[in-house]
Point group: C2
Chain length 311, copies 2
């Protein structure tokens, strides 16, 4: 086994499940999670970072298992009242969740970086692992459908992924600087880079599109392993499969590995997708990847780490 940190690239819900598994089987100082910020947006005057927050809440044990987003033991007085005032209610903000958005918005306005705010929030909520935004600079995923370009959360939440996706863009990414701490971590000892089973198009590719990040990952010398978000030829949750079809791609575990290309040193697929992955020209490990509870999160994390250690 190589020494060093495990660097996990993650979006929200699906990625956070494996991130939690990794957090439970690794010492806290040996896990660094790089979060997608392409989903971030400004809503009701607030700076909202859905993937960072889902990761933070999941790692803090504060997540809402029923929804996959937001906090448990949430109350909804704000949203109820906002509706009565004619405000925009398509993005559901619980009263407790809201406190994080208000606090972040204030601190960003005062000049603090997203990375520093995230670190402080994690510390206060008892998350010992580092959660690092891929960049402190503004990157915004946009979706081109048949009716033109729309903001990601408009597509994802307001229109519930109904528009047909023709193209994706990460506005601002060409000027975004990679998170200094991510680059620093990649220049130190790295045991493995794990690409969590997040949606590649909207969760992982924004991270890899930050100038210098893909190269730094490729050059860190550690194995880079992706975990397939496809199980039995289908996406577990969210628009991954729908998006693949709309983008003219075959919905299969193999397609996703091909998407990541030569960045990968290995690929973890579900046992139901062995056939799909058999033609790939890279080491493949097939294990059960469905994470239905804490035990399956942990066992997938262990299997992924064991696999990376063989590469």
């Amino acid at each position: 086994m190589r020494e060093g940190v495990v660097l996990a690239l993650s979006g929200g819900v699906g990625g956070a499940k494996l991130a939690l598994g990794l957090a439970r089987v690794l010492p806290a100082d040996q896990l660094v999670i790089v979060a997608n910020t392409g989903d971030d947006f400004e809503h009701l005057g607030l700076s909202i970072s859905p993937d960072i927050d889902t990761l933070t809440y999941v790692l803090a044990g504060l997540d809402n298992p029923a929804t996959g987003w937001g906090r448990r033991d949430e109350t909804w007085s704000f949203m109820e009242t906002l509706a009565s005032l004619g405000g925009e209610t398509w993005f559901r903000l619980g009263d407790r969740d809201l406190a994080l958005h208000v606090e972040r918005t204030c601190r960003l306005a005062a000049g603090e970086t997203l990375c520093s705010i995230t670190a402080d929030v994690c510390r206060r909520l008892g998350v010992a692992q580092r959660v690092l935004p891929m960049s402190d600079d503004r990157v915004r995923t946009r979706v081109r459908s048949d009716s033109g370009w729309i903001d990601f959360q408009d597509y994802f939440v307001r229109q519930q992924c109904r528009p047909v996706v023709r193209e994706l863009a990460f506005t601002g990414v060409e000027k975004a600087r990679p998170q200094t701490e991510v680059i620093a971590a990649l220049q130190n000892k790295v045991r493995a880079v794990v690409i969590c089973p997040s949606n590649p198009f909207i969760s992982i590719e924004p991270i890899l599109a930050v100038p210098g990040l893909r190269q730094a990952i490729a050059g860190c010398g550690a194995p880079v392993v992706a975990v397939s978000p496809i199980v039995g030829g289908r996406a577990i949750k969210g628009p991954t499969a729908k998006m693949m079809q709309e983008l003219g791609l075959e919905v299969s575990a193999a397609t996703i590995a091909e998407r990541y290309g030569d960045l990968l040193s290995g690929y973890v697929v579900d046992i139901a997708d062995i056939a799909s992955a058999s033609a790939l020209a890279l080491p493949v490990k097939a294990v059960p990847t469905l994470m239905t509870d804490l035990a399956t999160r942990e066992s997938l994390a262990k299997a992924v780490l064991a696999f990376t250690d063989t590469l």
Copy 2:
């Protein structure tokens, strides 16, 4: 009895009690309430208008009678969580109350006026009377204490009126334009102008300091009657008496009438203050002014209106 609207000048808690009394004894289209906005401030990135909101909640029957500010049936998840994140909690914002601040902040940022937002909120909350901010331009009350100038809410809420007040200033007032609808109302038929029993220094004088407003009131041709906030030589609530002492003024009903000077055509004092008011060179009506319930709010409103009709 003169025909026309009653125009009430009001701050928050004390003024809102009489405003509610007036609202209950007048047809809705015959009451216009001019609200102080000198207390407005920006906090946690939000635009907060305490006096407008207190008036709106009181008139909508949504006020919290236990506190005098905020909403009834309030929940506090936001504030609790903000505290856990290390955010500023000295200004208590309930989850429901917060919705109004977030909505107002968004709409101000989008270019809507405070007056238009207030009108829409009143309509949605079922308030049929007009509540008009004294100005849509930014006026901010500041307090000079022995340690320098501080913002009003810092003095009032954070420091709970502990600093000794040496001077008050209404920053921005010299450039503030009076609310168009207030001027328009004063140019139409006015039955009476009622100065509610609010703190003169921090609730009424900011209104009167808006260029043109005092003159428009004085020139409207209707009686102008103030209701004393002093009962038996003491202030009912808030820092009125403390502030008068610190400003070197005698704490009495008479002092307040003198403060308003020749603007007044009549003065309503509590029966306990007849002696204090006897030396005033203007018509005085003494009635019970303590508003402990809905009935006493209504009876004071009736007494004030009956008095103005004699002037």
